[in-house]
Amino acid sequence: MSKFLKRSALGAQVPHEKRTSGMETVKMPLPTKIVLSMSQHIGAPATPAVAKGDQVYVGTVVGKSGGFVSSDIHSGVSGIVDSITTITGSNGAKQTAVVIIPDGAQTVDPAVAPPQVTDLKSFQDAVRASGLVGLGGAGFPAAVKLAPKNLDEIDTLIINGAECEPYITSDNRCLLEDTQFILDGIQAVMKYLEIPRCIIGIEGNKPEAIAKMRGAVPAGVEVKELPCRYPQGAEKVLIENCTGREVPFPGLPSDVGVIVMNVTSVAFVGKYLATGMPLTTKRLTVDGDIVKEPKNVEVVIGTPVRELIDFCGGFTDEPGKVLYGGPMMGTCIADLDQPVLKNNNAVLAFSRKASQTPKMSNCIHCGRCANACPLGLSAKEIVQAYNNGDVDLLVQLNADLCMSCGTCSFVCPAKRPLAPSIALAKIMMKNGGKK
C-alpha cells in the first residue's frame, strides 16, 4: 500500500504485435555496399582507420575508437573501401562514414582470433577490442560499462531480456537461438567482475524463452518473469523490479551495485570470447504493416535499409514511416539509404495511413500520464511548466529525469505529444530558460 501511494507507475498496455517471435533468424546475403557510420555509439565518434581504395577483410578495424567513451568499428565484409564520406544520420547530424564494396569472398582478417582472457584487465580489453556497444538500443560502449569505479560494490548482474517494445522479437530469438552464448557471456562477466548473482529479466509474453532459459541456467543465475507492461526493459524500471533498488538520480546502476546488460550484448560477449569475431553483424526484426515478408534477419552492419527491405519482399504499400527500433522509442529515418547501425534491433515500416499523427485535443487532466509514468513524473504539469517557460517548476518536477519512453504520450486520451514536449523542456532546462 505504501508503495502504491508513493508512485502508481502503471506503465502502458501496449499492443505486442510480436508475430515474428516464432520466426527463426535467416541470414541475409551480402548487400551491394555497406556504409559504416563512425557514430554508432554514445560518446566520441570513431575516426576512419582506412583510406579510399584500401583492401579490408571481415573483422578489419575501419574506425578507431575516438576516446575512452567510444568504440572501434569493424568491417563485416571483405572488399575495397569505396569512399570516406559524410552522411546525415537519423538524428539529423552529419557523420563521417566509410563505404565498402564487398568482393564476395568474405575473407576473414588474419588478426581475428579468440582473445587471450585470463583476468579482469584482459577481459575488459577484449570487450573494448570487440567493438561492443549496448545492443538494447542505447549504444553505450560495453567496455566502459564493464569497468565501473566501484567494482567491489557490484553484487548483481541483470540481463535485460524484457523486450517490451511492440513488434520486436530479435531478443526473443537471441534467447532461443543463442542460449549457450548467453550463458557463456554471463559466466565470463560474473567470473571476471566477481559478481555473485545474476538475474535474467524476461517479459511474460515470451513463455518459450523463459522456459528455455529456466531449463539452462546454472546456480546463481535466476530467470525472472516480468509483467507485460511497457516499459519493463527500461533500465531503472528493470532494476527496481528485479532488486527493489532505486537508481539515484543523477546516477548509474552501479551506484546501487548493479550492472545491466542486454541479452544480445551478453550473447555477443560469449560468442566473441569463443571466436574473436568483432561486432559486424546484427539480428534485426523487420516488420510493420507494409513489409511483405516480416522476418528476423541476421544482417551485416552498414547494410542500407533499402536492401534489407528488399530482402524482406519489399513494401506492399507506399511507406509513411520507417523506423530504427520499436514504435514506442524508435527513430524515424528520412530516407532508405540509411545504414543498419550496431545498436539497431529492428527496422519497422508503416503505411502512410498507420503513420498519421492522431488529432490532438485539450488536456482533460485525467492524470493517466502521471499514473502511467514509470518514474512518477507528471507529464501534464511538466508540459504546462514548459509552455509557461517556468524553469524553476521544471526543476521541482524533475523533468530532466524523463527517459523519453513515450508511455505518457501513448496513454493520453487527448493524444497530446507529451514525451516530445518533455524532451523540449529538458533542453530548456539545460539552456537555463531559453526554448
Partner: protein, 315 residues
Amino acid sequence: MGNKLIVTAAPHITGADSTQKIMQRVCLALCPTLVAAVVIFGVNALILTAITVAACVFFEWASCKLMHRENPTGDFSAVVTGMLLAFNLPATLPWWMALVGAFIAIVIVKQLFGGLGYNFANPAIVGRIAMAMGFAGAMSNYPHPEGLDALASATPLAVADQLGSESYVTLLLGNHGGVLGETCAITLLAGGLYLIWTKVISPTIPVTYLATVAVLSLAAGRDPVVQLLSGGLILGAFFMATDYVTSPTTTKGKLVFGIGLGVITCAIRFLGTMAEGVSFSILLMNLVVPYIEELTRQDRLGIAKVKKNKEGAGK
C-alpha cells in the same frame, strides 16, 4: 513530395482510448439511472434530460462558434454535463429553468474559462447550485412517487433521523422524493462500477468519500446506511467528484480529496441548516484541487527526498 518518408518524434503509436470514448462511457454509465428515473418519476424525467442535453450541446457549439473555436461537441463532454445537470433537477422543474442551468454550466463555467479542461469547477455542480439559489422553490419541489409512506413526502435526508433499517430497500431502489437522478442507488452503483471496471475512473475518490461519510455518520450517532444512500451522495461520489478536470490526479491527492469531500458533506448535513451538502462540498473541494495537486505529487524514482525534508524543517 508524395514519396517522402514521414519523420516525427517517438512514440509512433497511441493507445486506443480517447476523450470521446471516455465521455461516451460516462454517458452509458448514466443510462440505467435515467431509465430508473423515468420509472420512478415518469416520462417528464426523460424529457427534462433531453432538454438539458440538447441545450448543453447547443450552447457548447454556439459559444465556440462565437469565440471562433473549433467545434468540440464531438467529444461528448457537453452530453455528460447535460445528463449530470438533469440528474440534479427535480422532474417537475419548468423547462426554461433547465435552459438557464445549461447556459450557466456550459457558457459561464466551461467555455468562458477556456473550454474542456480549463473549467475550475464542475459545470453541472455550479449549474445546480446557481439554480438552487435562483429558483429555490422550483428546485426543491421534489416530486414523489404516489401512494408511498412518509419517505415519499420529502427527500429522505430531511427526515433522515426518523428513518430506520426498514427504509434501506426504498433508498436503494430510489422509490422516494428527490431530484431525478440521485434517488436510485442501485443503478448509480452499477454505473459507477462500470466506470471503475472500464478504468474510466479510479475507485479511490468514491471509496474514500463514502467511507469518510460512513465513519463520520457513525461518530455523529446517525445511521450510516441512510446517510450513504440518501441525497446526492452516490451520484456525486461516482460521477461528479470524479470529474477529471476538477479532481486531483495522484492516488495521494485523491485520498485527500475524498476525505475532504466527506468531511464537508457531513459538516453541512449535520451542523448546517441545509439538508444536503454534496454539491457544495464538491464545489469547495474543486477550488482547492490545484493546491492538493501541488502537495501530493508522486515520489519520483531515484530522487532523494532531501529537498522535501529541508522544506519541511523550514516551516
